[in-house]
Symmetry: C2
Subunit: 337 residues, 2 copies
């Protein structure tokens, strides 16, 4: 899922996303609650109508942003008091408020409100944090959400094996529509992250979707799919696009490099995205160097197309039971760079 | 003509422009000469191919930008020595160099290299400037441009009636493919500008296109068409879009105004642009306040559509000999604001 933090995937229109083949997007509860406000979006017919996006939307719970973006937060049994990163105004969001906001936004998949422990954090802190997350998860389940909305629980527990196990079992007992790994991609190394997933994923019933939040690089996606992850969100394809880093099957390409100044080839031969179908590396380099707004859009279209194709390729490989071969080809192509 | 200074109309793709109905664009010789360089663009197949725009392009001569953007310029009989506004590097452009660059870029309409006198400037200065412009115009005509390229001469003469007359007669004697009014929209008031056009336009043969450079607001376009002007370029629709000022038949709309926070209507009822077909004022206000890149594009699409429709409306009115009625309706609609 590309990230549409403020009700727009940065630099592209919903029509661009459809043409790229994007199937669903993520939007941030925290941001939309603060601006323009979930009640305004509800009055205007919900987030789908507001941003003119007919395909699925997942909203996060606001939990992660409350901890990472706001200031002066204070956690109690009922939720979190915090100050807006926009204007310093005071707010309170707990599990009930998070559900209210996500109901008003009208996303198709909504997330339980969790506490995301800092990294690194000691065992005691993480244990108390996951207990609170489980109590909040129950409150979220009890809240009367819209019948069309699926609710996912978020597994916490830091890097501690027994805590991840405990968190996943507690949530699975509550029977959510799907499960997410939270508290990852916050500074731990890749091997630790994969180990944490391995520790807990087998407890999750086969038929439930599993979502790895905030991950990641193409190689992270491949490794996580190998372990059974079904869904991802990450700003990487869009943010890197705006910084001039483009993804190809042979690895990354830094468009500002002088070698592309008169390179008439597309970013990637055989790529069928709008950007590669119409523009050369030389033109994209020129737009980037000249800080033209079109640069952000054309780069974003290509990167999202790359990610969309990567996931589509993995879905096919999983269906045909050939993920090992897919993975091998993926790494071999990178060596050609 | 929307302005595509650096080989891109800011915030929109060539496909957006085609869907809006834009028939031709302007690109700046000075900017493209400095970055990425006209020789690189020539090697890549010319500006049309470089930016993937199949419809007509007009390039200016570089003259105006040499005076307005560069530093330390020194004018001689052969041309202008100046320092780049990008990196301070030293360059020389005269009539021959301007023709060489515009030939390499491959625009459909190219402009003679002129000296654009400052405003205000005394009679003596403007007289000498227009004499130089006429000598340079002859050199541009003598240069062997591509057979497909039309060359326009630029009428100078400041606000002095006899000098505008002299400049237009000298250029008309040389028989250019079209004529432009230069040295306007540089600080003079609207009445003076219209008077200058009236003073000189009747000397231009009926069958030659007449182009008013750097103008302007919708009302400026209507008044200038009344006097016989055929072509315009201006950054106003695109720059105002990025500043959140949107054009409608009832006047301008400032999208950041709080009154639009939950306004579910499009910018303009009955507007058929992509933006008005899919997004509300409330969403556009949100994108603008949140500084989303999509804001620039959606606003630009609407403003260019407004301008394109305005010009199309005037073309029809001219054909049907009812410009007086068109003009009256234009001003009456504004009173409804």
């Amino acid at each position: 899922m590309p990230v549409g933090t403020q009700g727009a995937v940065k630099a592209v229109s919903p029509e661009d996303l459809e043409r790229i083949g994007v199937k669903s997007i993520l939007a941030n509860t925290y941001h939309l609650y603060l601006r323009p406000g979930h009640k305004i979006i509800e009055r205007l017919g919900g987030l789908h109508r507001f941003m003119n996006w007919g395909r699925p939307i997942l909203t996060d719970s606001g939990g992660f942003q409350v901890y990472s973006l706001s200031t002066l937060r204070k956690i109690s049994e009922e939720g979190v008091t915090f100050q807006s990163h926009l204007d310093g105004s005071r707010h309170f969001i707990g599990p009930v408020e998070s559900m209210e906001i996500q109901k008003a936004l009208g996303a198709d998949i909504i997330m339980a409100f969790d506490e995301c422990a800092p990294y690194p954090a000691d065992y005691e802190y993480v244990l108390n944090s996951l207990k609170l997350t489980s109590r909040w998860a129950r409150k979220c389940l009890e809240y009367k959400r819209a019948p069309s909305q699926a609710l996912f629980g978020i597994i916490q527990g830091g890097i501690y094996r027994d805590l991840r196990e405990r968190s996943s079992k507690e949530l699975i007992d509550m029977d959510f529509d799907g499960y997410a790994f939270g508290g990852l991609s916050v500074g731990e190394d890749r091997q630790t992250r994969l180990r944490v997933i391995r520790d807990a994923i087998d407890f999750i019933p086969e038929e439930k979707p599993v979502y790895l939040m905030g991950v990641g690089a193409p190689e992270d996606l491949v490794e996580a799919v190998m372990l059974g992850i079904d869904m991802f969100d990450c700003v990487m394809p869009t943010r890197n696009a705006r910084n001039g880093t483009l993804f190809t099957s042979n690895g990354r390409l830094t468009i500002k490099n002088a070698r592309y100044v008169d390179d008439d080839r597309p970013i990637e031969e055989n790529c069928r995205c709008y950007t590669c179908s119409h523009f050369s590396r030389a033109y994209l380099r020129h737009l980037y160097m000249a800080k033209e707004l079109l640069s952000y859009r054309l780069n974003t279209i290509h990167n999202l197309h790359y990610y969309t194709q990567l996931m589509e390729g993995m879905r096919q490989a999983v269906r045909e039971d050939r993920m090992d071969a897919f993975r091998q080809t993926f790494y071999e192509n990178r060596k050609l760079n």
